[in-house]
Symmetry: C2
Subunit: 465 residues, 2 copies
């Protein structure tokens, strides 16, 4: 049904996206339609990420889609980075516009023009704003979820009184929002680290990243948190009066995570039978599958769904007994629902039902009276097992090397770890010629390098989406 | 501080929007920045409306922002209606596009091109889809929240096997989603009815509407639900095979409500001191206002916030004792927080605190040990009182008349009710010359006319935003 992963991984990905009814290509090149099942996953991602963002003290707001072209030009690196990807509106309301407007590729420029108005005094700081929005970056080689001309994301923008406060907040977002969500909800054991200057966000002085390893050993950047220094503060003149009455420019951060995470979710856990969703994220955690309706099985199956729902489990009933049981099972596997409970008259007569784990394929007969606790336990185990499996693969496919040549070889199947001093900007250029990038720089103990810390860094390199 | 309503109502509106920090004008004409306090209200609107939409069986999805120009032309009335308001992207990725794309003014055309693919058989029906998105309609006379070139909304799109099923669903959305939400959460006693042909959505065969009366007696259309007949089904060739194997076009609905509801919320309840938010919607339902920190009042105030939060109340502490008590009170009034609890050492010494209702201004001393139940009761009362007040105003300002001339006179201060047969299309044109519109057609008993029912209808006419 699906192309096997080891035969053609990109084709497997396309097959899963189409057959699990996750997304379609839009009519305009590079755009996408997110279908209800994938959108339900996005809603769960939004809820989990939003709660973590709010816990850091940030508040949501909404800024316009359209940005005057002149705004982008104010920060030199920023406009240079985004110019090739812009969509430009030249006509509005039946007339040619005096000044063309761009469709936001990201909102630093428009948001900072308001920060300049809203920030007056140190009492207004820190100013912590987040928005959920669509952005447009014209994409020549689109892939659903991974690279699309329009995507959905959250983008946070903050202003602080000191560089240290901004740096601490950027790290807090990386750790308490992105890493925590990705590890504990998505079950993806992301690597955190700093981007090299070459890979940095256009306009940032430091970019922190969460990198996941996909099923084919390639990296996917899943979320980034930037220190912007005072670059935008100078470009947009965002100043505040400090406690002594002096005027200073603010220090800033910005950070984002997008619908690209849906691509990461598919590729981090999927297998030849389809998706494998971590229970914390799954819109449907359990499907109760009615085998045949006889012998009171129909009533019992419906009752189990009610029982599971009451126990706080996202459960759904599949009582389409006119469709073959095998076809329905394959479809729920394809959709990655973590646990199936099969209810049939024969088992029921013996007081039992069958519990099937999607992640392992294990089938267990369990007493019909213990479904809720057994399902809850299976969900907890499946969540941990998916994280463990992804962690094991990442460890197996990460090798320590000494030279750029060895790293190039190792990046065929996974990540290579080597001293950043053995790479440097010159080595980074050579890697790039082979389609390999430095995914992040870390300290030898795996911790995040502090700003300005350049000695003894380890580079993790690989191919990436 | 605010311009009084009876001096200059539009100016009062602008003042509230600016001073309560609800929104700013965007840099591109007609666009807006929704600031955190107003966005928090929008998030509550989204949560309440979304839950009601899902309860009708619809699922959320996401369709692209960009629509090929050619798609809009497929439905003749639709393109005619929207052409003057379109924003057009002519350049993408540094090049001129082969075919210009429009920024969606609404998504019928793009969504229906997918419905044509997804709907094959009667088993696929009804197909019930909703999306939360931004849309763009170029606006020459923008007003924050009420008319903006970009706004946020939800738009639902459905396909059904029969005209009757589509009609019933369109009415269900009007009643169970919009009217229920507007009456019970927003506390706005909306009139429901049918639009005249002149006021109908471009491409619809029937438009149902919820109309609210604002503080100045003018109407605001707060949500609409359309029967599209088979117009888009024919334009996009959406057919299904029925149980007998025959092919038929589907019957459709679409329906939407937007950030315009924020404008309605301001104008339905606001007074000369600012917003008055219904507790069901208010992001902050209660502020505990510390008068002075002495005598354990600080600890007690913080404790009360914890107590209220534990009781399920959205409570916030204001312990900024370095800002004058008067100024803080005025600010919370401006922000429309439904209940204030004032905690000061003098009252506390007598075991009491002061409860202040925003809607009535009533101040009551209550025992400090009974804050949670008293606040909960006050919130319930305030919710009912705001709805009652709005209903009373609407009744007082709606008069029964017999002629278009009398209706024109009555519409100076509110709504006029008269027989639709005394108006007709000719009368509607005369009213339009005076800036007056038929807001909706209803049956004499106030109920919704069924499709095709033209006899004995009552027209409600008024000025509108």
């Amino acid at each position: 049904m699906l192309t096997p992963q080891n035969e053609d991984y990109p084709r497997w990905y396309q097959d899963v996206v189409a057959k699990a009814e996750l997304a379609d290509n839009g009519p305009v090149r590079g755009t996408m339609v997110i279908r209800p099942y994938a959108y339900a996953m996005w809603e769960r991602m939004q809820a989990e990420v939003d709660a973590r963002i709010k816990a850091t003290g940030a508040r949501n707001a909404y800024f316009p889609l359209f940005i005057p072209e002149s705004y982008l030009r104010r920060e030199a690196e920023h406009v240079e980075g985004f110019s090739p990807e812009l969509a430009v509106v030249t006509h509005g309301g039946g007339k040619e516009l005096d000044e063309p407007v761009v469709v936001r590729p990201t909102s630093e420029t428009v948001i900072n023009s308001y920060f300049a108005k809203w920030v007056q005094s140190y009492r207004d700081l820190p100013l912590l704003i987040n928005q959920w929005a669509n952005v447009v970056r014209w994409e020549l080689r689109p892939r659903l979820f991974l690279r699309t001309s329009e995507f959905l994301w959250q983008e946070g923008h903050t202003a602080h009184a000191t560089a240290a406060d901004a740096a601490a907040y950027a790290e807090r977002i990386l750790r308490d929002v992105y890493e925590d969500f990705m590890v504990n909800v998505l079950a993806i054991p992301v690597l955190t680290g700093r981007k090299t200057a070459r890979e940095r966000f256009a306009g940032a002085v430091n970019t922190l990243t969460c990198e996941g390893m996909m099923g084919d050993g390639k990296a996917l950047q899943l979320g980034t948190s930037h220190e912007l220094g005072q670059n935008f503060a100078r470009a947009f003149d965002i100043t505040f009066s400090d406690e002594d009455g002096g005027q200073s420019h603010v220090w800033q951060t910005s950070w984002g995570a997008s619908t690209r995470m849906l691509g990461g979710l598919i590729m981090a856990h999927g297998d030849d039978a389809g998706l494998r969703l971590p229970p914390q994220l799954a819109p449907i955690q359990v499907v109760v599958l009615l085998v045949r309706a006889e012998g009171g099985a129909g009533e019992r199956a419906a009752g189990l769904v009610a029982e599971l729902t009451a126990a706080g489990v996202r459960a759904e009933l599949d009582d389409r007994v006119d469709v073959s049981f095998g076809r329905r099972s394959v479809d729920w596997e394809l959709k990655g629902v973590p646990v199936r409970v099969e209810v049939g008259p024969r088992d029921l007569a013996k007081g039992s039902v069958t519990l099937v784990r999607r992640d392992t394929g294990d089938k267990t007969g369990i007493p019909a009276g213990e479904v809720a606790p057994r399902v809850t336990a299976a969900l907890t185990e499946a969540q941990a097992a998916l994280l463990d499996g992804a962690r094991r693969r990442q460890e197996e496919r990460t090798v320590d090397v000494s030279t750029v040549e060895e790293a190039t070889e190792a990046a065929r199947s996974g990540f290579a770890r080597l001293s950043w001093s053995a790479v440097g900007e010159e080595g980074e250029t050579r890697l790039a010629e082979q389609g390999i990038t430095v995914r992040c720089l870390r300290r030898a103990d795996g911790s995040l390098p502090v700003t300005g810390d350049e000695a003894d860094l380890v580079a993790v390199v690989g191919r990436a989406y």
